[in-house]
Subunit: 312 residues, 2 copies
């Protein structure tokens, strides 16, 4: 006997589910997450824009990041410039603080930035108007309302008319110094622990890791102050960063993300808010934004390429 705790969201789900329609919210509310995903339709999924998708090569495999230009147009444009001018190639992961963040950049701060900006005006929040904000009804400790915008966990305050992405696991942020405008995307971090929501609206969030997160989260922790590695040989080198649009088709990993503005997504959230399988004795009744899974699947796997795919 191996007694277990029930599985959390798996980031990778099997491709090509049968196309059974989820007919109603009432029906959906009795389904498990796996059943909701199995019943999803092709139009419930979306492919990330290759122009806003980063491929990070680390020694253990591939990490894929989706950028969030709807929240950080200046930072994501600057990051694209840095990537295209090979700024990140060969830079180290300098920090891995347990239950907090993994961070990379130029430890000496001397590498030329090319045509990119070193610093930018902050993009901590933005006008709510113009965003398709898909709200959760569930209460949140930190924000008046939470929900999703184009697949990114987010919050809004309708009284101020502002919206902002939130610091859930796997979110990508632009490190900065003390001044609000001292970051620019040359130093980046990914949330690798319990959501540090106190950072919301204090740092520019620019995207989210959508594949290969465990290649960052399982790195050995740094033991210097704030989890910085104490010697260069403890660091992991990011060998190369590319924009998916620039990567030859044969090297693409064809990811699809579950849309967050659909009835299928609502059914998935409900399936996680109130677990229906026999293991759960007391459904939670509510769900916190960072506990909502954001499923990713590999759309097409050609037989000859399976072995080359990084594990997820």
């Amino acid at each position: 006997m191996v007694s277990i705790v029930a599985a959390c969201a798996s980031a990778a789900v099997s491709p090509d589910p049968p196309h059974t329609l989820v007919k109603t919210r009432a029906a959906a509310s009795r389904l498990t997450m796996d059943q909701v995903l199995a019943a999803s339709k092709p139009e419930d999924w979306r492919a990330p824009d290759p122009e806003n998708t980063l491929y990070l090569d680390v020694p253990a495999g591939l990490v894929v990041i989706e950028l969030a230009p709807q929240f950080a147009p200046r930072h994501t444009a600057n990051i694209r410039t840095l990537v295209r001018e090979h700024y990140f190639d060969g830079l180290p992961i300098v920090r891995a603080q347990d239950n907090y963040v993994v961070q990379w950049g130029d430890p000496e701060g001397k590498k030329p930035l090319g045509t990119a900006a070193r610093t930018l005006a902050p993009e901590f929040d933005r006008e709510l108007a113009g965003l398709a904000f898909h709200a959760l009804p569930d209460p949140d400790t930190y924000a008046p309302e939470t929900g999703f915008v184009d697949g990114f966990p987010a919050a809004r305050d309708r009284s101020s008319g502002k919206a902002w992405p939130v610091h859930c696991y796997a979110m990508l942020g632009a490190g900065r110094d003390v001044a609000a405008d001292s970051g620019g995307g040359a130093e980046l971090y990914v949330v690798s622990g319990h959501a540090p929501r106190h950072l919301d609206r204090n740092v520019t969030l620019a995207g989210r890791v959508i594949f290969g997160m465990d290649l960052l989260s399982a790195l050995p922790r740094g033991h210097g102050p704030m989890g910085f590695y104490e010697s260069p040989e403890q660091r992991t080198i990011i060998t190369r960063v590319r924009i998916a649009a620039d990567v030859p088709a044969a090297e693409h990993v064809e990811l699809e993300l579950l849309r967050t503005d659909t009835a299928t997504f609502d059914a998935l959230v409900e399936a996680r808010r109130n677990r229906r399988d026999d293991w759960f004795k007391l459904p939670a009744g509510r769900i916190e934004v960072c506990n909502v899974p954001l499923p990713v699947r590999v759309r097409q796997v050609e037989l000859g390429r399976i072995d080359a795919l990084p594990r997820q």
Copy 2:
């Protein structure tokens, strides 16, 4: 230049802080966490009960767990029996699911349990009466109220008169099968990601990792279903588990934990609810129970033993 994001709670703080008094809540509210800790008094700290403290030896070092008999008297007593009869010695960590849990136990379910029970009646919650519940004023998605009991993050429902520990990072739980009474502490898991609060009141929580958490959280992830390792050689072996009370004094790691029922703790929570250092531009104003740091320090480090101490 290395731009950074501000440090999260460090689990280990420097020993022997100066004994400056935190005089008032108003004064405390302007302090940073480091200042609160530096001003703490000896009576703000407590040593865990050696009879309720587990030392887990893994190849990379020592993991220390504080048991929670106030919430799970049957399970913690059974775990102590299992430890004293060497049940866990040599068992593997069988599962490391990214952003969820690390779990260990007997993968074959064949190792004799000695005088310990295989299963126990669940201890998902208990009567609130008799507990010193130190409540947070902050709202929570999942529970009517959250707070701390003897250093453990917890929740209460005054209308039902119940209290229960909550699934924050580093909490220890007893795995079970489908039946509520199918666990007993022979299979244990530790939360290693964003708090899976939907598990609250569905599993018996029996303690918390207070030292060496990164030796579990940075383990390579399993890539089988639910993060189970796919082959035995991927597993990490727990070489030995002991109860601190049974460990020779020379091998003790003298940990002290910040009490959670003091004005100093209230000041620490406020320092984290509203960060006062220049880096923060917008204090959060609220704090979620699993984002409250629970500081641990090493009380006495004899010079000759420094090198033998596991890194934290």
